[in-house]
């Protein structure tokens, strides 16, 4: 079936043959019969750009492989198929008092996608990224064979090339994940309203280590001394004795209301200087400083999940998310980027700033020790130029782009940003010499 596919940003759609295989054997057959334009796996399509689309080729819909095969409560291990969403996984684990340690900004991603993009969450400074918790994975490679890979065993190079490898080493079929015990499904949250960017940076540097989860939102519409004012939200998992009596009766409860779904008919341009400023003002004011507040998962971790298809709010022209990381020493670049965006006239409402902990062994894994900053920008004339300018700042400081969000940079930028790119490329070349696995992103960035 020919289907027009795009990423979550709804930019650059292309047409591919979308197939939904019923079993792993069918996946292997499709891969073996692949033609010139190749094959790529797709999960829930939450990458912002083009890594899960494949113009003129085949796209494997993996969401049918949604079985959680085994939960080992004592060992803290769970064996899942690649199409299981983190939402389903979290819901299944909570009754056992277990928790997937890495949850990104949305739970609507598959395990396969989370591995391929090596996603991170608000707890990166403590627990690392998704790949750090994968104990083994089954990878279908270009020759049609299935290899079981572990982080340290034979084939560990392919394991780490698959983590963050954007689906280009093969198709992840199954994985065994490490999960952690929790007493409740709640968080004890400290919220700090902060006047400016410098303060926001300073507070996170000072005592992030006291929290399991830490993230900040900042305002790019306020200028001058209030530039980068924001809200710092940090939390730890609530222990049972920290819950109010009412919640203690069902400490592992989980409720994710879907309040409404955004219709598909909104025009572009709804987010503009006026609405952007109003939103930012509201967001800033609604979060006064307070400590020790008990919040549930949706409110603390995934507030956007209550709105279905919120990406439609940006209209048909779509939007892009610009996310980069720079070393701590290059903190000035964070400031410059915020200033540059504030001065540009482009408006971003959802802005995130966070401290990363150490990176991992995966050559294309995004997180590195330093700051990561992320802005959502609706596509408008001049946006390409602004992003090209930001690229120079980021790459010049030894920073890099997050490929799960990336939709417009150059092949050269990826090579500059990821010093171990050649190492990754060599593994890909050895396991997929003919380039069976291909996506719009792999063609665009020559991966």
């Amino acid at each position: 079936m020919l289907v027009r596919l795009s990423g979550w940003g709804r930019t650059a759609p292309t047409v591919a043959r979308l197939v939904s295989p019923r079993d792993f054997e069918a996946v292997a057959n499709i891969v073996k019969k692949s033609r010139e334009r190749g094959v790529i796996a797709r999960g829930l399509g939450r990458s912002y750009g083009d890594p899960a689309q494949n113009a003129g080729g085949v796209v494997l819909d993996m969401t049918r492989f949604d079985r959680i095969r085994r939960v080992d409560v004592d060992a803290g291990l769970v064996d899942v198929e690649a199409g299981v969403s983190l939402d389903a996984l979290m819901r299944a684990l909570l009754p056992f008092g277990l928790w997937p340690p890495v949850l990104p900004g949305t739970r609507q991603v598959t395990v396969g996608g989370a591995i391929a993009a090596d996603v991170h969450g608000k707890g990166h400074h403590v627990v690392g990224s998704f790949g750090d918790h994968v104990r083994s994975l089954d990878l279908l490679t270009a020759d049609g064979s299935v290899r079981t890979l572990t982080p340290d065993g034979e084939g560990s190079a392919l394991f780490w090339a698959t983590v963050g490898g954007m689906g280009l080493t093969g198709v992840v079929l199954r994985a065994t994940l490490h999960v952690v015990p929790v007493e409740t499904s709640y968080f004890v949250v400290d919220t700090e309203q902060v006047d400016n960017l410098d303060d926001l940076l300073a507070r996170q540097s000072a005592d992030d280590d006291r929290y399991a989860e830490s993230v900040s939102w900042f305002d790019v519409t306020a200028t001058g001394p209030r530039l980068g004012r924001g809200v710092l939200t940090r939390a730890n998992h609530a222990r049972l004795d920290e819950l109010p009596a009412k919640l203690r009766r069902d400490p592992l409860a989980f409720d994710a209301p879907r309040l409404f779904t955004v219709p598909d008919r909104l025009p572009s341009g709804l987010l503009n200087r006026v609405t952007g400023r109003a939103f930012s003002e509201l967001w800033y004011r609604k979060s006064p400083t307070r400590s020790g507040q008990v919040q549930n998962i949706t409110r603390f971790l995934h507030p956007l999940d209550v709105i279905g298809e919120w990406n439609r709010g940006y209209g048909p022209r779509g939007f892009l998310q610009y996310q980069f990381a720079v070393p701590f020493a290059a903190v000035d670049v964070v400031r410059q980027v915020v200033e540059r965006i504030a001065a540009s006239g482009h408006v971003s409402a959802l802005n995130v700033l966070k401290r990363f902990g150490p990176g991992n062994r995966a050559p294309l894994s995004f997180p590195m020790p330093g700051w990561t900053l992320c802005v959502d920008l609706p596509v408008r004339p001049g946006l390409g130029r602004l992003c090209d300018e930001l690229d120079e700042l980021v790459l010049g400081a030894g920073g890099r782009h997050y490929l799960a969000k990336e939709s417009r940079t150059t092949a050269e930028a990826v090579r500059r940003g990821y010093p171990r790119f050649a190492q990754w490329r060599a593994v890909r070349a050895s396991v997929d010499p003919d380039g069976v696995f291909a996506s719009d992103m792999s063609r665009r960035l020559e991966l």
């Binding site: 292309t14 334009r37 003129g56 004339p381 390409g384 992003c387 063609r443």
Partner: protein, 251 residues
């Protein structure tokens, strides 16, 4: 591939010495360095364009292409697409000819029809086949307002443009399910080599102004645009004028 903000990675110009097309290429190469293929007859102008783009750091190749040689078109396109896909293809060739000769001289009439219509259909079918396979791409067809309502003063040229315009609009419908966009651009009077010596009409533009319209339309995946935009309203009126009135309008 075309990225989220509309930057193509490869641009093909059929009629690679067209001033409008080269202005489009310059606009693309001012932002990024896409692979550029100039398909045209060998000429000094083609060489000059290659030299200019190469000096600017653009990977450019020239390919021999003659709009009249329809039998040779498939081979030319095969060669072009063999080096990887084409994201944006501009169908930019065309001849204006001598309008009075064109309706009285058999050979001149066939030359216009052969280049502007038959040639355009020939490459259109070839591009469609190849872009369908790659599941994406933009074909920009440089039409003309002259085809929207033909005038006594240049109706042979106008009729060829009317034909190619209709063909590419239909091609756009056919290619929609395959992820390929066809953008038909209708410029008014453009001050170029082709119109040198002709008296300019109101709402005339430069090649670069048309190029700006083309780049924007391709980026936004528009299907039909006028250059400049107000021509749309003007042509809408002209299209509906009774003949008796239309023929009295100044040429």
């Amino acid at each position: 591939m075309i990225d989220a903000v509309g930057n193509p990675q490869s641009v093909l110009v059929l009629g690679g010495t067209s001033e409008i097309a080269l202005a489009v290429v310059r606009r693309y190469t001012a932002v990024r360095k896409p692979r550029v293929v100039l398909a045209a007859r060998p000429s000094y102008r083609r060489d000059a364009a290659v030299v200019e783009l190469t000096a600017a750091g653009v990977p450019v190749t020239a390919v021999d292409f003659d709009a009249r040689d329809v039998d040779g078109h498939p081979a030319v396109l095969d060669k072009v697409f063999a080096d990887g896909g084409i994201d944006v293809a501009l169908v930019a060739f065309g001849v204006l000819g001598d309008a009075e000769r064109a309706w009285q001289d058999h050979e001149a009439a066939l030359e216009l029809a052969g280049v502007n219509y038959t040639g355009a259909v020939s490459v259109g079918v070839g591009l469609a086949e190849r872009m369908r396979k790659q599941g994406h791409g933009v074909i920009v067809a440089l039409s003309s307002v002259a085809g929207e309502r033909v005038r006594r003063s240049n109706f042979v040229y106008g009729s060829t443009k009317a034909g190619m315009d209709a063909f590419y609009q239909g091609l756009g419908e056919a290619l929609r399910p395959h992820g390929v966009t066809v953008t038909v651009v209708r410029p008014g009077f453009v001050r170029t080599r082709m119109t040198d010596g002709l008296p300019p009409t109101p709402l005339s533009s430069t090649a670069d102004q048309v190029a700006e319209v083309v780049v924007r339309a391709a980026r936004d995946r528009r299907e039909l645009v006028w250059a400049p935009a107000p021509l749309r309203a003007v042509m809408s009126v002209l299209r509906h004028l009774p003949r008796a009135v239309f023929r009295r309008l100044p040429a």
